[in-house]
Amino acid sequence: MRILALESSCDETALAIISGSGSDWVLEKDIVYSQIAIHQKYGGVVPEVAARKHAETIFPLLTETLGEEKLATIDYLAVTAGPGLVASLLLGVTAARSLAYAAAKPLLPVNHMEGHIYSNWLSNSELKNNDQKYFPSLALVVSGGHTELVLMKNHGDYQLLGTTQDDAVGEAFDKVAKILNLGYPGGPIVSKEALEGDDQAYKLPRPMLNSGDYNFSFSGLKTAVLYTLEREKNISQAAVKNICASFQAAAVELLVKKTIKAAQEFQVKSIMIAGGVSANQLLREELKKESTKISLPLFYPELKYTGDNAAMIAVAAYYGLQNKNKKILKGEEIFSAKPLSNWQIFLK
């Protein structure tokens, strides 16, 4: 079985090919074209610019990925249908629909958040070879657009335990970087500054830490950084580092405490993290420390698979086909594939 996957939900245009049978699969191709450099000058993703860029890059990337054989040896197409920016998603979905229909190949719409979770299968051979041992698993998916705690009972079987009630954690990092005038994307910059800062220097709140549920709130934390800045008119470089460290410590504590609590309540066999913010070193270290205390294995993706990519979409489609838990569109049905900008992971 050979699958071509397309991903264009935000500011990356990506293609991948996976092939195999059973739990034995290999990633043959994996191409990501990132627009970060373009969006840096705007301080964030500009939806219309992103969509235009996807349109320009997707066909050259297809040629590069498929080569001379084109679609001849591809059995299935998979595409990210949501959640994401509707204009960006539309490009990928339209391209996939056209290719699938013209070449008479079945098409699988894939959930982007599910894809992120499967980035762990790309990076951990122990998980890939023995995944049944690790279900149910608790997945913390954290990025610029999402902060979700998902109970993964088995392949394709999800329960959403909690989500942010306002800003996503990655968005909070981006906005704190903007408030401090540090640039975009905010996550890596804030983390870098935090390395040399004192995380006890500022007392920042931990919103919803004791809310009794698995939801998150990061908007108040962002505003607390703003107030801190307004109190101190002339802020030194050292103070910026301290604010970054204090902010990051608060954000990570919120994520780790709720994840560990959920892991205990739902008696999971493993914890996974995924998404752009799963690249955060402090989050990895703290979660490793806390999961070890309760004797749970922690899986996280290689850095290159923390961001958006098509390899994770290909893997999610692969397991969807193996376990027959995905909609497979054929013939005229292919045109029913649509961008679903708010597609929740537990919905088929």
Partner: protein
């Protein structure tokens, strides 16, 4: 033009009720104010007072979120955030015209100042200024 001061979320909630009561036939609300001013917090308060049970989350990442609404003749609440835009876009580029033209949609736009040519008819402008910790001045025109 009216000015209000809010010192906390309860007062913002009261203000949201007032805004809804004074809406009349206005269906387009433009919100402006710096990061952390409380634009999303005010949208949340308005949505809750309109009976929306879902959590209103930041639309910064996806630009636009639509919620089902059942208030008088309004059937949906459209929450838009132009934070990521560079100020060059107009309504047509963003595909927002359809929402604004829809008589059943209440449209709330954060960072509305970044969009050129917003229709002035039926437009309610809300500006939020940060006065200090939690204290906000809200100017409605």
């Amino acid at each position: 033009m009216r000015e209000y001061i809010s010192n906390n979320l309860q007062e913002t909630n009261e203000l949201a009720k007032k805004i809804i009561a004074d809406l009349q036939d206005k269906r387009l609300i433009a919100l402006s104010g710096n990061l952390g001013a409380g634009k999303t917090a005010l949208v949340k308060a308005i949505a809750e007072n309109l009976g929306i049970k879902e959590a209103i989350t930041s639309p910064t990442f996806v630009l636009l979120k639509v919620y089902n609404l059942n208030f008088k003749n309004l059937k949906k609440l459209v929450h838009i955030d132009c934070y990521r835009l560079d100020g060059e876009e107009d309504l047509q580029d963003l595909g927002l015209e359809d929402y604004i033209a829809d008589p059943e949609a209440l449209v709330l736009i954060e960072w509305a100042e970044k969009i050129k040519n917003l229709p002035e008819a039926n437009l309610l402008k809300i500006k939020i200024e940060i006065l200090g910790n939690k204290e906000r001045k809200i100017i409605i025109s």
